[in-house]
């Protein structure tokens, strides 16, 4: 992971500030940096989103392709995740350097989405046992500025919200062979319900307090973090401890409460932005990569 070198004095400065609920950039312990979300930025995809959280820049593209359902779930479609750490983020990611981080992120995403209430995968089925929609969710890390998991989960939720899957009809002829017909109207499509898609909130323990949305510098001062997956209703679906340090059970319960609180607010703001983009429709001015 991209890391920054801090002197002892800088670390002490950051830690002491956080004890007083004052971070280096003036935020409180439970404040996020300014988040920019934009959907539909890549035209070759079924859905896409770009999220900029401070210096962290994530681009997610979702491609819907026809595939065969998995043997254990013949009536469902499925999601496949892939993470690419671009060398632009840090030269350490050149070649196969980013694979470790990518695997960690992919595994976390699979864990979050393994819950059957997250996405209605039954709606992705076309012909049981024969055809289904496979959603390939590809995450591209353009820049690392701390708090990767949060930004990635926001981008994945936004991209899934933006995904438009073409409507298909199954035609069966007398011999019983099935044919799949794509709708003539390119705007005829099904959308996904992302109300139950959780967002990841990472809480980093610094000193005796914990902070939300740590920058690279704050992550360097933190020995342990708790990664929580929170739905819009405040339900915790997944929890993971990161880092070399240890956490005592008291702190874990406190962090869980903070995570749930912050998570609900994050979901409300995100949904507001997504609905606003949706309501503007084609009149929306796209910033894309010029901003």
């Amino acid at each position: 992971m991209a890391s920054v070198v801090l002197s002892e004095a800088e670390k002490v400065y950051i830690v002491h500030g956080i004890q007083e609920d004052l971070r280096v950039d003036g935020r409180g312990c439970e404040d996020y940096r300014c988040i920019e979300v934009e959907t539909d930025v890549v035209s070759n995809t079924s859905g896409s989103a770009r999220v900029k959280l401070g210096h962290t820049d994530i681009l997610v593209g979702v491609k819907a392709e026809m595939g065969t359902p998995k043997l254990e779930n013949p009536n469902e479609g499925y999601l496949e995740f892939f993470v690419d750490c671009s060398a632009n983020a840090t030269p350490e990611f050149e070649g196969r350097g980013g694979e470790e981080l990518a695997t960690e992120i992919v595994n976390t995403l699979y864990r979050i989405f393994s819950n059957e209430s997250t996405i209605d995968v039954k709606s992705l089925c076309i012909n049981p046992r024969e055809h289904c929609w496979v959603l390939y969710v590809d995450v591209l890390l353009l820049e690392c500025g701390g708090n990767l998991f949060d930004a990635i989960s926001i981008a994945v939720k936004a991209a899934l919200f933006n995904t438009r899957i073409p409507k298909v009809r199954v035609l069966e002829d007398e011999e019983g062979s099935k044919e799949i017909e794509l709708s003539d109207d390119p705007f005829d499509c099904i959308r996904l319900n992302v109300d139950n898609v959780p967002c990841i909130i990472t809480l980093s323990k610094i000193g005796c307090r914990h902070v939300v949305d740590a920058t690279l510098q704050e992550e360097a001062c933190s020995l342990a973090s708790l990664l929580l997956s929170v739905t819009s209703r405040g339900t915790l679906t997944c929890m993971k401890k990161l880092g070399n340090g240890s956490l005592d059970p008291e702190s874990i319960f406190e962090m869980m409460e903070t995570g749930k609180r912050v998570g609900k607010t994050l979901h409300t703001s995100l949904q507001k932005i997504l609905d606003k983009e949706e309501s503007l429709g084609t009149t929306r001015q796209k910033v894309g990569f010029l901003g």
């Binding site: 890549v42 035209s43 070759n44 995809t45 896409s48 820049d57 681009l59 593209g61 979702v62 491609k63 392709e65 892939f82 690419d84 671009s86 060398a87 632009n88 030269p91 050149e94 070649g95 196969r96 390939y136 590809d138 591209l140 353009l142 820049e143 894309g288 990569f289 010029l290």
Partner: protein, 220 residues
Amino acid sequence: SPHFPPLENPGVRALQRQVACEPHRVTPVCWQMRGSRSKALHDRALVNCQYSMATFSTGERKRRPHGDRKSSEMTLHLKQTFEAAILTQLYPRSQIDIYVQILQADGGNYCACVNAATLATIDAGIPMRDYVCASSAGFIEDTPLADLNYVEEAAGGPQVALALLPKSDQIALLEMNSRLHEDHLEQVIEAASKACKDVYAVLDQVVRDHVHEVTTLLGE
């Protein structure tokens, strides 16, 4: 050893507006420049490139972003092009990394990379002999076409990729696919050269505007 200015914002986002047919088609490319001191040559700088395509950049999903044959070939071409253009003798025992990331592909990938990399090199303050401007060209229905898009490339006709140093009219890279009668070659190269010069005009204007803005903000 040379000192490279610290990069607060290491990503330089350069957009290429494809000249000719449809000026609103854009192939966005992001990349980064930095200097480091690992295993370099004694008399000049090492230019290290990586060409990577996002898996969702093409119409059909790409399974590997980089490391496959096509990407390795592009990486090598970029390296050769920029080793020719950058004044590497000024930075012995150093390494210059150029990482190009294709976010959306609609034809002319290599050319967009070269143009973006030129702008980023200039932004990084690394001295070059000249701008390197690239454009593709093809020959369809007895007409030379400049800057082919994906549909035109997929049609299977001859394609020429040309990287040019516009002031001296020197060719840094010339590549051709498929079959083209030699009588037509000159027209096609002519079309590509003209497109390169048009791109040069745009890039030059962008650089001048940016420098003007920066110096005004610095109050000089």
